[in-house]
Amino acid sequence: MQESMEVAISKKQLQKKQGKNKFRLYMKRNWQLYALMILPMAFIIIFKFGSYFGLSIAFKDYKVAKGFADSKWVGMDIFEKIFAKRNFGKAVWNTLYLNILDLIFSFPMPILLALLLNEIRTKWFKKVSQTLLYLPHFLSWIIIGSLAYQMFSLSNGVVNTIIANMGKSPIPFLQENTWWLISYVAIGVWQSMGWGTIIYLAAITNVNTELYEAARVDGAGRLKQCFHVTLPCIRGTIVTLLIMNLGKIMQGSFERIYALSNSKATEYATTIPVLVYRWGIESGKFSEATALGLFQSVIGLLLVLLADKIAKKLGEDGLI
C-alpha cells in the first residue's frame, strides 16, 4: 500500500519534471512565435483592457475637472437614472429592431451574392463586378448620407424629380418614419453586401472539387450543386459569421444613423449609440454615456455567449 503510494508520488514528480522540460523545449522551439505575439497583445492590453479603468465613471458622479479619482462614488444611481430616461426603452428597442432587420436582410445577401459570383465564368466580368460591389464599403457614411439626400430627398432628390416628372407624387424616402426605415435597411444592404462576399468566396474556393464532380455524375445541375455541395460546405463559415453578427445586435453603427437621420423622421433613429453620442459627446454627461455603453456591452456579451451555446448544440464548433 505504502509502496504503491510512493511509486505514485515519484511518478507524479517525474511527470512534473518531464512537463517542465517539455515546456522549456517547447518555448525554445517556438519563442519566435510568442515574440511576434507581444505587439498585438500589448495593443489589446493597453488600448482595450487599459481603458477598462475608465468604466468606473459609470458608478460615479463624474465631474470632468475632478477626474476619475476625485469624483464621488454613487453606486448604481447613474444606472437608475438612465433606465428612467424617456428615451432609454425606445433606444434599446430601436437598436434591437434595426439590427434584427439588418440580420434578416443584410446577412443573407453576401451569401447569395457569393454564390452568384462563384457561378460567373467570364473572368474579367467577375473581377469588374466584384470591384464595383466592394466599392461602397470604402465610402464614409457621411458621404453615403449626403449621397442619399441628393438622391432621395423630397424636393431636390434625383429620384423624386424623376417620379414628379412622370406625374406621380414624390415619395418621402428619408422624411417619413416607415420609409426611412426601409431606406435605412436598403442602403445598409447596398453598402455592406459586396464586402461581405469576400469571406464566403474564400470559403467556397476551399470546397473540394471532387464533390462537384461526384454531384455532376449523379446528375446534379448547377443549381443543385449550389444547394447540395457549396452551401453545406460553407455552413461552418456561415454559422461563425452569424454568431459574430448576433454579438453586434446590441451595437449598431452610430455613423450610419447619424448620417441618414433628420429631425422629421425620428421614430427609429434614437438608438443606444445615438444616445451615447448625445449624452457623452454633445452634452458632456460622461457618466451616463459610459453607463449606457456598459449596459450595451454586457447585453452584447450575453448574446454572443448564448449564440455560441446554441451553435454548439447544433453541432458546430462555435467561437469559444
Binding site: F53, A65, K66, R86
Partner: protein
C-alpha cells in the same frame, strides 16, 4: 499544463496593467488636486511670500508679486480662440498672433499659445479638453447659462478681484461694475467679462427686392404682410421664405411674446439654452409656422437646414427669398447670388415682419460681452500673465491695431478718425473674415469709438459690402423704430441645477416635437402640441420652472 501556464501569464499581465493604469490614474489626479488647492486665491497670497523670487521683482504691499518687468521664468498661457473655419486663415498662428507674441509676450516673458475651439462644437471641445486636463487657461462662452455649466463642472476657479485690480488696473477700471454685478455665482466671484456696446444692425435679414417688385408688393411690416408676400411669390413660382432648423440659442419666441406678459413669466421662460416649448409665445410661433408650412410658404425641407451654410445655399440658389445672418463687408452671399442671377436685388427686411403686430420683441444683449472664467488648473503665475494680457489688450492702441490692422496698409483714417478698410486688401497683415473679433473679444465685443454716431459710421464700413451701405442704414433705422422692445434675459445669481441636468434631453425633444408640430396637418396641431407639452414638462421642464420660481421668490436674480 502548458495551457494553464499561458492562462496564468495572461492573467498576471492583465492584472498588472490594470493596477498600473489605476496607480497612474490616481497619481495624476492627486497631483492635480494639490495644484488646485495652491490655486485657491486665499492660499496663493500666503504662498506668495515664500515663493522663489528674483531680486528685481518687488513684493508689493498688497501681497502680489510685481511682474511689470516680466516673469523671470517664461510663463505659457493658453488662450482660446474660436475657429470659424475661414478659408486660408490659421487661427492659432498668423500675423496677429505673432504680433501679440512680439508686442506682449516677449515683453513680459510670456508665451501666448492660442488654442482653437470649434465655433459650432465649442461645448464639446471644451468638455473634452477639460476632461483631458488640457483646456486653455480661459474658459469662455457667450451665454451665461453655459458658463454656469462649466462652473458647476468644477472647471472654473474662484476669482480674487483685488488680484485683477492689481495686475490689470485699466481692464478692471473699465469692467469693475460689470464683474461685480454679474460675475457672482452662489456668492462667489466666478466670471469676468468683455465690455459690450451692443449693436443690433449687424444681424440682417435679406429679402429679394426684385421678387417684391415682380409681384408688386411693398416691404412687409408684419407677419400677415410677410405671408401675403410669400403667397404672391408662390403663385409667381418664385420661391419660399427661408427657414432653418432651430437647435440652440432659443430666441424664436420673442416676436410672439404678448405685450402684457408678466416679468416673472419672462424670467421663467426666457432662456437661450432651453426652449420654452410649453409657453404661450412658443405655441403662437409654432401655430404660425404650421399654417405657413401647410400653405407651402416656407421651405418645405427647412428641417434639413442644420447649418447656416444650408440656408445660405438655398438663398443663393434662388430657392428661398429671405436669409438672416450676421453681415460683414467680406460676405460672399450677395456676390454669389448675383453670379447665379445677375438681376437679383436684395434689401434689408423690416424687423417687424416676423411678429404678428409688427412690434416684435427682440433679444436684448446683456451689458457684457464674452463671459470668461479661469481654468481650475491654472497657476497663479499664469493667472497673473492673463491679467497682464487683458490689460495690455484693452489699451486703445493695441485694441485698435488688432481691430483694424496697420494704418496705411489695412486702412486709412478719415476726417472723423474712423478707420476705412482698404478695399480688397490681401496682404500679409490681412484681418480675419470677422475683423479679428475672435482675438479681441476677450476685452470688447463690438469696436467702440465712444460715440453712437461715430460707431455707426465705423460699423458701416466694417459691415456693409462695398456699394451696399443702404442695407446697414436700413437695418439701423428698423432697429431704431423697434428699439423699445428689447427684452433682457434675467440672470440668476445661483446656478440652476435642473438646467444642466435636463437641457440636453430637452433640446433633443424640442427638435423632434417642434418639427412635428410645424409639419403636421393643422387639425392635428392642437392635440399634438398638448401631448408634447405634457411630455416636455414631465421630462424635466417642470423641474426647471419650479427651480426658477423658487429663485425668483427668493429674489436671487438680476433682471437688467
Amino acid at each position: 499544463m502548458r495551457k494553464r501556464m499561458v492562462t496564468k501569464l495572461t492573467a498576471v499581465i492583465v492584472t498588472a496593467t490594470l493596477v498600473v493604469s489605476m496607480v497612474t490614474g490616481c497619481g495624476k489626479s492627486s497631483k492635480k488636486n494639490t495644484d488646485t488647492t495652491a490655486d485657491d486665491p486665499v492660499a496663493t497670497q500666503d504662498v506668495n511670500t515664500d515663493d522663489t523670487k528674483t531680486e528685481d521683482t518687488k513684493e508689493a504691499e498688497s501681497g502680489y508679486t510685481d511682474y511689470s518687468n516680466g516673469f523671470k521664468e517664461q510663463v505659457t498661457i493658453q488662450i482660446p480662440v474660436y475657429d470659424r473655419a475661414f478659408e486660408g486663415w490659421n487661427v492659432t498662428d498668423n500675423y496677429y498672433t505673432k504680433w501679440i507674441q512680439s508686442e506682449f509676450g516677449d515683453k513680459y516673458n510670456v508665451k501666448v499659445q492660442y488654442v482653437a475651439i470649434g465655433r459650432t462644437t465649442e461645448v464639446q471641445d471644451y468638455m473634452q479638453m477639460i476632461a483631458a486636463g488640457n483646456a486653455p487657461d480661459i474658459i469662455m462662452h457667450y451665454d451665461m447659462p453655459q458658463a454656469v455649466n462649466y462652473y458647476n463642472e468644477g472647471a472654473i476657479q474662484d476669482l480674487d478681484l483685488e488680484e485683477i485690480a492689481y495686475y490689470a488696473p485699466d481692464y478692471y477700471g473699465k469692467l469693475k461694475d460689470t464683474i461685480e454685478k454679474y460675475g457672482k455665482l452662489d456668492g462667489k466671484n466666478a466670471f469676468f467679462f468683455a465690455e459690450r456696446e451692443a449693436i443690433y444692425y449687424n444681424w440682417v435679414t435679406l429679402i429679394r427686392q426684385d421678387w417684391l417688385d415682380q409681384v408688386g408688393k411693398a416691404m412687409p411690416t408684419n407677419r400677415a404682410e410677410l405671408e401675403d408676400v410669400a403667397r404672391a411669390w408662390k403663385e409667381a413660382g418664385l420661391g419660399t421664405l427661408g427657414e432653418t432648423l432651430l437647435t440652440k440659442s432659443f430666441t424664436y419666441e420673442y416676436p410672439f411674446i404678448a405685450a402684457d406678459t408678466s416679468t416673472t413669466d419672462l424670467a421663467k421662460y426666457l432662456d437661450l439654452n432651453v426652449a420654452p416649448f410649453t409657453w404661450d409665445a412658443s405655441k403662437q410661433y409654432l401655430q404660425t409656422l404650421n399654417a405657413e408650412y401647410n400653405e407651402g410658404l416656407i421651405d418645405p425641407e427647412f428641417y434639413l437646414n442644420k447649418e447656416d451654410a444650408d440656408a445660405k445655399a438655398d438663398f443663393v440658389a434662388g430657392k428661398t427669398g429671405t436669409y438672416g445672418f450676421y453681415i460683414n463687408s467680406t460676405t460672399d452671399v450677395i456676390s454669389s447670388l448675383l453670379a447665379n442671377d445677375p438681376n437679383a436685388k436684395v434689401a434689408t427686411m423690416n424687423t417687424g415682419a416676423g411678429s404678428p403686430d409688427g412690434k416684435g420683441y427682440y433679444y436684448e444683449y446683456p451689458a457684457y460681452g464674452m463671459v470668461m472664467g479661469i481654468n481650475s488648473t491654472t497657476s497663479k503665475e499664469e493667472r497673473a500673465a492673463i491679467w497682464l494680457f487683458l490689460n495690455w489688450m484693452i489699451q486703445d492702441d493695441n485694441l485698435f491695431y488688432l481691430q483694424n490692422g496697420i494704418e496705411g496698409t489695412n486702412y486709412t483714417k478719415n476726417a472723423d478718425g474712423i478707420a476705412e478698410p482698404v478695399a480688397d486688401f490681401n496682404g500679409e497683415s490681412k484681418l480675419s473674415n470677422n475683423n479679428n473679433k475672435d482675438y479681441w473679444c476677450l476685452v470688447q465685443e463690438v469696436a467702440n469709438y465712444g460715440d453712437e454716431e461715430l460707431n455707426f459710421k465705423a460699423n458701416l464700413k466694417i459691415l456693409a459690402p462695398a456699394g451696399y451701405e443702404s442695407l446697414i442704414q436700413d437695418a439701423y433705422d428698423y432697429y431704431k423704430q423697434n428699439a423699445e422692445y428689447g427684452l433682457i434675459t434675467p440672470i440668476f445669481t445661483k446656478s440652476i441645477e435642473s438646467v444642466s441636468e435636463y437641457s440636453a434631453d430637452l433640446n433633443a425633444m424640442w427638435q423632434e416635437f417642434y418639427v412635428d408640430c410645424v409639419t403636421c396637418s393643422p387639425d392635428e396641431f392642437e392635440s399634438k402640441y398638448a401631448s408634447y407639452c405634457d411630455e416636455y414638462l414631465d421630462c424635466g421642464y417642470q423641474e426647471i420652472l419650479d427651480e426658477k420660481q423658487e429663485l425668483l421668490d427668493a429674489g436671487e436674480y438680476l433682471s437688467e
